[in-house]
């Protein structure tokens, strides 16, 4: 049962919903503008895009990792990690 669908018979409900609906849209627009003014979403998206590019590349490329090279043994085979992930999943099951 859906309590929220306005019935066509109720004109009063329709009119409230209409006025509130416009008010709602205005509020959303104002808040969105305020958000864009102070939070710089485009800059954030560009930053995120740069990182995503790096992430996708890292799945296929061998990267120079001086940090871990000091102590850990490196396995530089491509896509190996995906295979491990699947193997571990099947092992747990």
């Amino acid at each position: 049962m859906n309590n929220f669908k306005p019935t066509r018979k109720s004109k009063k409900y329709d009119s409230i919903s209409g006025l509130s609906g416009y008010l709602y849209i205005v509020m959303v627009m104002v808040l969105l503008l305020f958000y864009c003014r102070y939070s710089h979403p485009i800059v954030r998206l560009i930053d995120a895009g740069k990182w995503w590019k790096g992430f996708v590349q890292s799945l296929y490329e061998v990267n120079d990792i001086p940090n871990i090279a000091q102590y850990g043994q490196m396995d530089l085979s491509k896509k190996r990690v995906i295979l491990e992930f699947i193997q571990t999943g099947s092992y747990l099951l």
Binding site: S20, L31, G54, F55, I65, F85
Partner: protein
């Protein structure tokens, strides 16, 4: 063993849960989750406190015995048919969802995000700050000592908090003997939280299945929930249980389901054992139940008295241990919080109300609470982080959910829609009374009312397609930002993808080369003595497979005749440790490494140990 034990617990819970009839499959699922968690927590508490034999084998035996008893007791009344509803329910959901492109797209996105989080859960060991300092070290210590007790040497006042959520982490660690999946436990509870929002929409607010499903999905995409799902914090577990408690409480109040009262009490019992702040939340839910029960004259006073006593007993059984322990050890059940009410009530603690206010103000950088909340909600000042005030409730919350709440609240007030008003009252009061409500991770539940209100708006607004499109774009934006900067430490992804699984350990996140070196030099069964390391990252000392034994250096350390000096033993002390000069001066110990965090590493001065170190250096480093 993990899978066998979990199946045992699930069967047990299923048999008990199906003794009642449920008006919906989602309610049965939530009851199943609740009973399973109860069984896990109670068996661990009994084995860890009463028998002091907390091992994977004893847990398996105990839960197996419980299953046998349950099967004998309920053998004549097992409702296997209930399980037949599962495919039927899935079919119903698919039928409802499939014609709706908007829902279909959101489900696709949710599946991608789920896959990504699971992948990260596999790839990364626990890395979050609080996980390494005080959420996981007690668990590792309990497994090492096979008993539940206060672990010395762990930093912060949170070490004295109740630890029901950590017991859920323990279930994973004790059986698997590695931390490969422990930081995904919160993700399971995030899914349960989303299911609870679906149930509230469907059975409390009485929305249709499609709308309820959408509410659950919108809640699922809350950035803070998704970010925390990949950490061993407890906020997501807390949120899930809180929403379950709200659901059962409203089910009792509005749908006259007496069985829901018991389920509310059980959920509140678990909730009280997750954080002391939950006592506030429980008081609000409980007051609402009592208030409505009294004003509606639905039950007699004797009934209300019984309800009150029942809740108290359940609370004592499920969470009383943690408060009783603090009372016995520190003479204050709410330790470390100092409580001064009058001359007669003066409970000792090291966190007074005044120092808490100072801590709160310092954390906000001196700005007022309202300004901090506004900055936080508009995501001004920084990228998302799993524990910071920089955003976390998402762009959808501030731009679309908040106005939706205002609109829906006005309508609900005019139409006297009790269900929505009660739900709003509980969540709003909890938000207002939460002292740290400017930190998103403590108030993630507030987006539940936002999600439900937004779906209502979508059903009522004239420009449905445009609004749905805008919601989808904003969710895509939220999800994209999640991956950036601090969802997890992004620069580490490449590092971990190219590292062998055995080398992926929590030490790599501490920023301490001494910790990393310890991983390389030590072997299974070695011992680590530590004292006063800051930051207090003690969890990595146990190793990823909990292969090392860890002890704190105490006053008797140097006076005792130590037999461990000949075997594999390491000593890790901080610069401010009072034992550092003694270790430096003594000929019995050799100083081998110090890092930028001022962690000092020592080994015993004997040939056997030196040979071992040389061997491991040659094997692992050269």
């Amino acid at each position: 063993m993990l899978i066998i034990s979990t199946i045992i617990v699930l069967i047990c819970s299923y048999v008990i849960a199906t003794q009642n009839k449920y008006q919906s499959f989602s309610k049965l699922l939530l009851t199943l989750v609740l009973y399973s968690c109860l069984q896990v927590i109670i068996t661990e508490l009994i084995l860890g406190i009463v028998f002091q034999n907390l091992t994977s084998f004893s847990l398996l035996v105990m839960n197996g015995s419980i299953l046998a008893v349950v099967l004998i007791l309920f053998s004549r009344n097992i409702h296997v048919k209930q399980s037949i509803y599962l495919p039927q329910n899935i079919k119903n959901v698919i039928n409802e969802v499939s014609p709706d492109i908007f829902l279909f797209a959101l489900i696709g996105l949710a599946l991608i995000v789920t896959g990504y989080i699971v992948y990260l859960g596999y790839l990364f060991p626990p890395y979050a700050y609080d996980s390494l300092t005080y959420h996981l070290p007690p668990v590792a210590s309990w497994i090492q000592n096979e008993k539940i007790s206060i672990v010395p040497g762990i930093d912060g006042f949170s070490n004295y908090y109740p630890k029901n959520a950590e017991l859920l982490f323990l279930w994973n660690l004790i059986f698997l003997k590695n931390d490969i999946g422990v930081d995904l436990i919160q993700f399971v509870f995030w899914l349960i939280g989303s299911l609870t929002v679906y149930s509230i929409s469907k059975h409390i607010i009485k929305m249709d299945m499609r709308s309820s499903f959408l509410s659950g999905l919108l809640f699922f995409f809350t950035p803070m929930g998704l970010m925390q799902s990949k950490t061993c914090y407890v906020d997501v577990i807390f949120t899930a249980f809180f929403l379950i408690a709200v659901f059962f409480a409203l089910d009792y109040i509005l749908n006259y389901q007496k069985s829901s009262l018991l389920l509310t009490s059980l959920t509140m019992g678990i909730l009280a054992g997750i954080k002391p702040q939950s006592l506030l939340y429980i008081s609000i839910i409980f007051s609402l139940i009592m208030f409505i029960t009294i004003i509606e004259h639905r039950y007699k006073w004797s009934h209300i008295f019984l309800v009150f006593t029942g809740i108290l007993v359940i609370f004592i059984v499920l969470s009383g241990y943690w408060y009783l322990r603090n009372y016995v050890v520190f003479q204050n059940p709410l330790f470390p919080f100092e409580i001064k009410i009058s001359k007669f009530i003066n409970l000792p603690g090291f966190m007074s109300l005044e120092s808490f206010r100072e801590y709160d103000l310092a954390s906000r950088g001196g700005t007022s609470r309202v300004i901090t909340i506004i900055k936080n909600w508009f995501e001004i000042g920084g990228y998302y982080q799993y524990d910071s005030p920089n955003g976390g409730l998402g762009i959808l919350w501030i731009t679309m959910m908040m106005p939706a709440i205002a609109w829906k609240l006005t309508t609900a007030w005019k139409n006297k829609e009790k269900a929505y008003l009660y739900l709003f009252a509980i969540l709003f009061l909890c938000f207002i009374f939460q002292p740290l409500n400017w930190l998103s991770r403590y108030v993630i539940y507030i987006t539940a009312i936002g999600a439900i209100s937004l779906v209502w708006c979508l059903n009522n607004i004239r420009y449905k397609k445009i609004t749905a499109g805008l919601i989808f774009i904003l969710i895509i934006y939220q999800v994209t930002l999640l991956s950036h900067q601090t969802f997890f430490t992004l620069n580490k992804v490449t590092l971990f993808q190219n590292t062998r699984p055995e080398n992926r350990n929590a030490a790599l996140f501490t920023g301490s080369k001494t910790m990393e070196l310890l991983e390389v030099l030590s072997e299974d069964g070695d011992q680590v003595y530590f004292h006063n390391i800051k930051p207090n990252f003690t969890y990595p000392l146990w190793g990823r497979h909990l292969e090392r034994k860890v002890y704190q250096i105490d006053a008797n350390f140097f006076s005792a005749q130590r037999s461990d000096k000949s075997s594999g033993t390491f000593y890790l002390v901080g610069q401010e440790s009072e034992y550092l000069p003694k270790l430096m001066e003594s000929d019995d110990y050799i100083f081998i490494y110090k890092d930028l965090k001022n962690y000092y590493l020592f080994i015993p001065n004997n040939k056997e140990m030196l040979d071992k170190i040389n061997r491991n250096i040659h094997r692992n480093l050269l």
